[in-house]
Amino acid sequence: MAAGGVVVMMPSAAYAHGKIEGVGDLFNGLAHPLRVPSHLLLLVALSLLLAQQKPRRLTWPMAVFTACSGLAIGVAGALDLAGISPLIPLGLLMGLAALVVWGRPMGLPMRAAVCALVAIVAGLDSPPEGESLLVSLKFGVGSWLCLSVVVVDLAFYASLVQAEWVALGRRVMGAWVLAIAILMLAFYAKSVM
């Protein structure tokens, strides 16, 4: 059980994110969530889930997401975390995608809780990388901006049309995300075996 716990919590070297040389710290931070497929899919899945409701109902969940992601990135930087195991975002991704496929609208407390959970996982897995406080700050702000803008944008535009065929399209996309998550989990399991 202890070994299992270590594997779950351990960040994987094979999935280390790395930096792009010569583009600046802020841009590196901005690009960070987009360069990690499991993060990007997590944001897409959350946006699809939030988009089940009309745009005016997005305000509070998005506020929670923005606040929690900033806080989590700050904590990851302050504690000098090296990221978290890929199993955690992948597991969360599968759960989110399954909720999208299920297609039942959730109440505000549940939506806010899901947003907080995704924000914390994505934030803790996006630790600011830098040799000085200023570099880390730029990187962290970039990551926070990207996480927030992607979710706000995708959720808002995906929720604009609430026609039946759009709702079905969201559920089909949820199935695609679930399928991708299952395959990613298999690839990860193979890489650590």
Binding site: R35, P37, S38, L41, V101, L168, R171, V172, G174, A175, W176, L178, A179, I180, I182, L183, M184, L185, A186, F187, A189, K190, S191
Partner: protein, 203 residues
């Protein structure tokens, strides 16, 4: 050089140049399986480059269109998820017997379902599609190119498969017209024949 000699040189040089360009390996595509973008492209193209896979994916969409709601969206939801489970088995090296026969049989059975406008209960259709999805997924999971980025390969692979289903559904929506129903059933027949060709080893 006379005009006739110039024309005959052109007759030789032009086809030779075209042939040269055609057989030269393209540098732009020489490393399509490397890196994140390479993995994405490789995964996306993988379901599209096997006729036995393509016809079965399209047949799922066609049959869904014939069955109407909710099958029209439920089958394209069931297939990729179960296919991914099959793919995971393939990636992990878990053997599944009769993969090639199962894939070929999926074309035959799903094609015949379209031809005969079969309307079984929804759960039977979902189970049938799910069973075939295991075979397709396992084959794709086993054939993962070594150099491909696994994460982006998974994205490309699922999106490529999903787009084939959507192509089938788009074709299947022609059934709202009489001529369209005939066209779709003929398409189902062609799919069944192709599947039979793979099953008996002709294709």
């Amino acid at each position: 050089m006379s005009a006739n000699a110039l024309i005959s040189w052109r007759r030789i040089l032009f086809p030779a140049a075209v042939l040269g360009v055609a057989v030269l390996p393209s540098m732009a595509y020489a490393h399509t399986e490397a890196g994140a973008v390479g993995g994405l492209l490789s995964g996306f193209l993988h379901p599209l480059t096997g006729l036995d896979h393509v016809v079965a994916m399209v047949a799922v969409g066609l049959w869904g269109a014939f069955l109407g709601k909710p099958a029209i969206w439920l089958l394209p939801v069931v297939f990729p998820v179960v296919m991914a489970l099959g793919g995971a088995l393939g990636v992990m090296g878990v053997p599944v017997p009769g993969i090639e026969a199962g894939i070929a049989l999926s074309g035959v059975v799903l094609g015949l379902m379209v031809v005969f406008k079969a309307r079984p209960p929804l759960w039977i259709a979902a189970v049938l599609v799910g069973v075939f999805a295991i075979f397709h997924g396992h084959a794709h999971g086993t054939e993962l190119p070594e150099a491909a980025n696994p994460m982006t390969y998974a994205v490309g692979f699922v999106v490529g498969t999903g787009l084939l289903h959507l192509g089938g559904i788009a074709f299947g929506l022609l059934t709202q017209w009489d001529w369209g129903t005939i066209a779709v059933r003929v398409g189902g027949g062609a799919i069944a024949l192709i599947g039979l060709g793979f099953l008996v080893g002709v294709l």
